[in-house]
């Protein structure tokens, strides 16, 4: 088990800067998620930690040791790839044994280790099969077993669930979490799926344009976004953002409630919400429209199914947001700023 730390890491591919000065430190045994849209540099960052890419600048420390120039095999890391990258011509047993063979472990001990790793993921009965005879979920387990058989100090995962269908994905997520808690290995997990990130991460590093925009617990990044990018990237639908001449403020769609529904009216900020369109989604309703003083910006309200109040379209309604749920951002650079009094 070890801590991963990167300092001032940059990676340029020709004219493109994929990773632009990242400082990041994991905690012991932590499940750290790198979250961001495609092309944000999260996979490049992971590949540099693995040693598959050499950084243009900066340092990578694993367990307090500078591994910057070292090849992957000298880093005691394990990695699971999006496609699982199983060796198609080898049996499951040989796939799992491959990293041990590369270490030069003797065959007897190797067999034991393979059985141990297979047992960890309940795939003992698949050992003599070949990858193409396995289902997606089974392949994933084989990939995990192969990654862990060497007992690495750090575990890197690159979107390992994106090849599974929705049902399997939920089950695989459970398995992965359970297993990570049990061994307590430091894990860095790359994904573009915020549901995965929120559900699995101890902490989330939200990335965009090669930079870490915010590092925090799922609660922190969701409720206290560091800037407008994080505010809009997280949440579905994203945070509503409205511009005033001096700053930007925002609130989550689920915090935007019709008058009479919300409690403690005193501390709430009222708005006049003109509703254009309603989407009924079963467990909730999405109301699309705009707020009277900010006609340019579309605003979304999300009402849970427990709110049965009828809402008419093409009409003004009285809505409000709790004062402490308003978030304020600098008008120019979009960074979080302190609470402001709403100018009206």
């Amino acid at each position: 088990m070890a801590v991963v730390e990167v300092r001032g890491l940059r990676k340029e591919f020709g004219d493109v800067t994929a990773v632009d000065g990242v400082d990041l430190q994991s905690e012991e045994g932590e499940f750290l998620v790198l979250l961001g849209p495609s092309g944000c540099g999260k996979t490049t960052l992971l590949r540099m930690i693995a040693g598959l890419e050499q950084p243009t600048e900066g340092e990578i420390m694993l367990g307090g040791e500078d591994v910057s120039g070292l090849p992957p095999r000298a880093r005691r890391i394990a990695m699971v790839f999006q496609s699982y990258a199983l060796y198609p011509h080898m049996t499951v047993a040989n796939n799992i044994a491959f990293p041990l063979k590369a270490q030069g472990m003797d065959p007897e001990e190797r067999t034991k280790k393979v059985e141990w790793a297979a047992g960890l993921f309940g795939i003992e009965r698949l050992l003599q099969r070949r990858p193409r005879q396995l289902s997606g979920g089974e392949r994933q387990r084989v990939a995990l077993a192969r990654a862990l058989v060497r007992e690495p100090t750090v575990f890197l995962l690159d979107e390992p669930l994106s090849n599974l269908d929705a049902k399997l994905r939920a089950a695989a997520r459970d398995d992965l979490m359970e297993f990570q808690r049990r061994i307590g290995i430091t894990t860095i997990y790359v994904t573009h799926d915020q549901v995965e990130a929120m559900g699995m991460g101890d902490r989330i590093a939200v990335m965009n344009h090669g930079k870490v925009r915010q590092l925090g617990t799922p609660e922190e990044v969701y409720h206290h976004p560091a800037d407008v990018f994080v505010a809009q990237f997280l949440g579905s639908p994203p945070m509503n953002l409205l511009e005033t001449p001096t700053y930007v403020f925002g609130f989550r769609p689920e915090q935007f409630l019709p008058e009479g529904i919300a409690e403690s009216e005193g501390t709430r900020v009222p708005f006049t919400f003109h509703v254009n369109r309603i989407e009924y989604l079963g467990s909730e309703r999405y109301l699309y429209g705009y707020i009277r003083e900010y006609d340019e910006t579309r605003v979304i309200a999300m009402l849970p199914a427990t709110v049965t109040l009828p809402i008419a379209i093409d009409q003004d309604h009285k809505f409000s947001v709790a004062k402490d749920q308003l978030r304020f951002f600098d008008f120019d650079d979009g960074h979080k700023i302190a609470q402001q009094t709403l100018m009206r």
């Binding site: 992957p72 198609p88 590369a102």
Partner: protein, 302 residues
Amino acid sequence: MTTTTATKQRYLGDNPRFLAGLFMSPAVLYIIALVGFPFVLAIIYAFTDISTGNPELEFVGWATFRRVLADPVFREALWNTFLFAVIANVMVVVLATALAEILVRDFKGKWLVRFLVLLPWVAPVSLATITWLWTLDSIFSPIDWVLRQLGLITENMYWLGQPGTAMTSVIAVQTWRIVPLAAVIVMAGLIAIPSDITDAVAVDGAGFWRRMFQVTIPLLAPIIAVAVLFGLILTISDMSVVYVLTRGGPTNSTQVLSTWAFIKGIEGGALAQGAAVALFLLPVLIAITAIVLRLARRREVM
């Protein structure tokens, strides 16, 4: 109703079966005229005793085959063909795999290396072989000159004049000629290996040789099989290299079946015997093709 039907059938070009036949016909005609017809003719000739002196079709059953088989030159040519094909293709596989590994790397001057590697393949066979004929000349050979300057030899090697060196030379030139094709085929296979696999090998801690022999080559096996198939067919059925360099000599030591068929049938005028020699390896080639294609199909890349 009637008008619709009429509209539907107005254009012949709307009929996919007609179009399919039309578009395939040039290829079919070409194959019938240049492959099918001579092939059938060869089979017919092989069962007669036709020659340029007596161009009458008189069927003699297997007599021509028996005469050909009894000829000691034929046996020597058969053995030489075997040696020639096997050694050349083993070398081709080794060199092509190594070259492909170099060609997929990114380095400065990559285009120049690619160009040089492909050169033997794009140059016309006879021209390229004539260059080798001069290079291996008994008096003016530049190879000999270099070896003499280095003090390794005192007198010329007579590359094409002695049985052992002649066979070596013929095999080397044939290898040189086929390697580019095989290298390009293997390179295509290398590129098709998913980069995730290569990355997984690196993370799993395997070095170059382990990656090469336990992952890359097994994954390339079906592609290499295809390269070998082309190589075998090119060495067994093509006569240009041997014919230009040695005409099968000295004293038939480099004689292979393709040159022997030509020398016997065309130069010597014994058309029936030439046809019989040429047909002799047909079953072997068909068998090789069937086996290699089956192997290639069984081992999928991904």
